[in-house]
């Protein structure tokens, strides 16, 4: 048995889902897609067999336009296999916005599946001054209607009872009646679909036929035409012509009939007890959607976010750095010198630790985005930036995926599913990896902390370090504009789609939801540090440690003895011995597989100002860019350059030198590395997500190629310009 939660976006489906299942959920994927399938079990089934609850993505209509709406349809119509078809639909409606929500609800009513209406947000409806008569609505719809307040867990028991009571109830036959001409064409279409062939056509129910007939060029039509051939397309065109000649509009007739029905029903259900006042949300929007003022608020908020990423996280980061050093020291003590000690200290602690040190920054960034999302501001950013997205040849809807990509491109790319136009969606996916995701943050923070002075700018309002960080975030976005325009003019040609988006009412962000999201992202980061980065760190360590020829040890032993017999003071001897130790470690590294590989590629990266170590680290970071920090940690530790007195990798980098003693790093090199990582696509997860969303390997290959070329050229230019200026 399974029941599905269906409704418009932002009606509280997820909140209700959590209330019904008690936060115990399994998150999987729908076959062949990256759309999350959240499922759990009803808490309270009164001794019946377990009932599965599925939370579906939000949709406005059964006439699917966007990819996530298509998922809703496929599930509701049982296309993923009949067993996946829910046995009951919980239609979640927003009581404060009943008119629009009932449109979708009346469509669901015709699916021939038992249905229960969960009328959520009763608290908001009441405070906006309306009284809602649920039994009257139940009477009109012919199904049970349960008022609930999902956030306060009010009405959940009644909803559970209604679900169980309705499972075996007959389906409601109340529905708006359509004009005769439409009904005739529908009957005809149903008939020919049922006659037309075997299998699925028999199940193509009347509502599906309606969505096919009345949504020209829509998802249903293209799907059925693909299956049944051109004949169907011609039949549809003919039937639509007849509807038009009977004086109806094909695209609008369904909405007109349903909304007319709703208009008739609503007065019996909703009574206004207080006159409508301007809601607080509208007052806030007067300010926050203002063309100039709203944009200023937005920029201020973003600036604050980056400043705090930098300022708040520093002390925690230093603590993690310290802990990592202590741990390394501890393992050096307890494990005897040799390959194992080197593996643990240089490979695991130095490598994985270097990445984990950035967890605080990443959590702060996710915290900000989760708050913006949950309070409803995210939709406003889409509204505000619609004109600016015009620069990209896109509309404001593409802005939300791009903004989420600043945290991580993977959820960003997945959230493009709400973009209706296929080409707009693909362009958004292809430029999303250019947005500076949190995995780049470790690279920026490391290099900025080490090489950019903390000069205050604008009278102390912002530091040079934060300003550099912001600049790095801008690089990706700035490059994305020409890339999007070129894509829009060539491979993905098409006009920009006009903006159409609901702006949900503002809400106080729920701490539970915000913290939960932050926790999930933090967990994902730690898991990747514990698996992928761990594995790469070990591979890099092994390549950098072996073959470890004994001849080097012998040569340095001779030197050590010579130093000991030179008869200098104890202090001078110690310094000399430490130097020999470093030389020895450096020699080992140069002779290792990694070292030889690195020297081979050095000519390619030298114009960027990089030495072979940076080049190797960059290549080793192909699976995930934050690995570069781990790899550098391992390489420098192996090379003996991370000495006892330095605090972590930052100081080590400052001390790194070319063989002739010049320091490797300066501001120009740091900038060139940062620019490279700002623009490259070193992220296996992103490429895999692009493949899954676009159903072809050609796109991830294209993405990787264009971004790598771009990154190399830009890093080259940066270095060559900066070295002449600084």
């Amino acid at each position: 048995m399974s029941v599905a939660l269906v409704g418009n976006p932002n009606t509280g489906k997820s909140t209700l889902f959590n209330a019904l299942t008690g936060y115990r959920q399994r998150i999987g994927n729908y076959p062949g897609t990256t759309v999350e399938r959240r499922a759990g079990f009803l808490r309270n089934v009164n001794g019946r067999a377990p009932i599965e609850v599925v939370d579906l993505p939000g949709a406005y209509s059964l006439a699917a336009r966007a990819a996530d709406e298509a998922i809703v349809l496929d599930v509701l119509l049982g296309r993923g296999g009949e067993d996946r078809r829910p046995d009951l639909i919980i239609s979640v409606v927003d009581a404060a916005n009943l008119g629009r929500n009932l449109f979708f609800c009346t469509q669901l009513l015709e699916l021939g599946v038992p249905l229960v209406v969960a009328m959520n947000m009763m608290d908001l409806a009441e405070s906006s001054g309306v009284r809602i008569n649920a039994p009257a609505l139940a009477e009109e719809l012919g199904v049970l209607v349960v008022p609930v307040v999902a956030t306060k867990q009010i009405g959940i028991d009644a909803l559970e009872k209604a679900i169980i009571d309705s499972l075996d109830a007959p389906c409601s036959d109340h529905c708006p009646s359509f004009p005769v001409c439409v009904c005739a064409e529908l009957d005809g279409l149903c008939h020919s679909l049922a006659d037309g062939g075997a299998g699925e056509h028999h199940r193509a129910s009347r509502i599906e036929a309606m969505q096919t007939l009345l949504d020209p060029g829509g998802y249903h039509e293209s799907r059925l035409v693909k299956r049944c051939g051109r004949g169907l397309a011609e039949e549809l065109a003919e039937r639509r012509r007849r509807i038009v000649s009977a004086g109806e509009s094909v695209a609008e007739v369904e909405a007109r009939v349903r909304y007319a029905w709703i208009e008739r029903v609503l007065p019996h259900v909703v009574t206004r007890v207080r006159p409508r006042r301007r809601s607080r949300s509208e007052v806030a929007d007067r300010l926050l959607t203002h063309r100039v003022f709203g944009l200023a608020v937005f920029l201020l908020m973003m600036g604050m976010c980056f400043q705090s990423v930098y300022a708040w996280a520093s002390p925690i980061m230093d603590a993690i750095d310290g802990a990592q050093k202590a741990l390394g020291g501890f393992f050096t003590e307890v494990i005897p010198a040799g390959a194992l000690q080197s593996l643990v200290v240089s490979g695991v602690v130095a490598g994985v630790g270097a990445v984990l040190a950035f967890l605080p920054q990443i959590l702060i960034l996710f915290l900000f985005l989760a708050i913006l999302e949950d309070c409803g501001y995210m939709a406003r950013t889409a509204f505000l930036l619609d004109r600016w997205m015009g620069l990209f040849g896109l509309n404001g809807k593409s802005f939300i995926p791009l903004l989420s990509s600043f945290a991580c491109a993977v959820p960003g790319i997945m959230s493009t599913r709400s973009i209706e136009d296929r080409r707009d969606r693909f362009v958004t996916i292809l430029i999303a990896p250019l947005m500076s995701c949190s995995a780049r943050l470790p690279v920026y923070v490391l290099l900025i902390g080490a090489f950019i002075p903390a000069t205050p700018l604008l009278g102390g309002l912002i530091g040079l370090q934060s300003a550099t960080l912001i600049a790095m975030y801008f690089v990706g976005a700035a490059v994305a504009i020409p890339v999007a325009l070129i894509l829009k003019r060539t491979v993905l040609k098409g006009p920009a789609q006009s903006f159409l988006m609901e702006l949900p009412t503002y809400k106080w962000p729920s701490p539970r939801i915000v913290l939960y999201r932050m926790y999930e992202q933090g967990k994902a980061f730690c898991v990747s540090a514990g698996t992928l980065i761990f594995a790469v760190a070990i591979v890099v360590w092994a390549l950098g440690y072996y073959p470890h020829p004994a001849a080097i040890a012998q040569a340095h032993l001779v030197e050590r003895e010579a130093a000991a017999q030179a008869g200098v003071s104890a202090e001078a001897l110690n310094t000399r011995l430490a130097e020999i130790g470093r030389n020895e470690a450096g020699e080992y590294l140069r002779q290792s597989f990694l070292g030889r590989m690195g020297l081979w590629i050095e000519p390619a990266v030298k114009p960027l100002g990089w030495d072979w170590r940076i080049g190797t680290a960059a290549i080793a970071s192909f699976p995930a860019r934050e690995v570069v920090v781990a790899t550098m940690g391992t390489i420098y530790n192996l090379g003996g350059e991370q000495d006892e007195t330095s605090t972590g990798l930052r100081a080590t980098l400052r001390g790194a030198t070319w063989p002739d003693g010049r320091p490797v790093y300066n501001v120009a090199v740091a900038l060139s590395i940062m620019v490279f990582f700002a623009l490259c696509c070193q992220c296996g997860a992103t490429l895999a997500t692009i493949k899954r969303e676009m159903h072809s390997w050609a796109w991830p290959v294209l993405t990787f190629t264009y971004m790598t070329v771009l990154a190399y050229v830009a890093a080259l230019a940066t270095y060559q310009i900066a070295i002449r200026l600084v």
Partner: protein
Amino acid sequence: MGRTKFFKQAPRDSRGTRLAIIRRFAIQQSEVDSLGVAMKGTAVHDRLSGMKTGETAAIISIAASQASAKRLADMGFVRGALVEMIRTGRPCLVRIGATCVGLGADHQRSILVLRT
């Protein structure tokens, strides 16, 4: 020009009106059929893009491609629905029922309204 009450000036005969609508809204012949009622009206007609902040108007018709029209209609932009302009511009912000919706320039131009 932006706010002309073109229906008042349009020729009386139906063929002329059709042509006027086609010219003014740059739409296709086939889509004019959906304008039905609009052609008979005599009140103050305009496009949604011509509304001022704070004004309320009733929707008469949508003159857009079928895909756009379907999306707008499903969101509640149907004949007879009342919209209030909250903020003009591109995109503009309107209230329809209890929902705030942002509308881009093309959509604003394609919605015909009757100001009350």
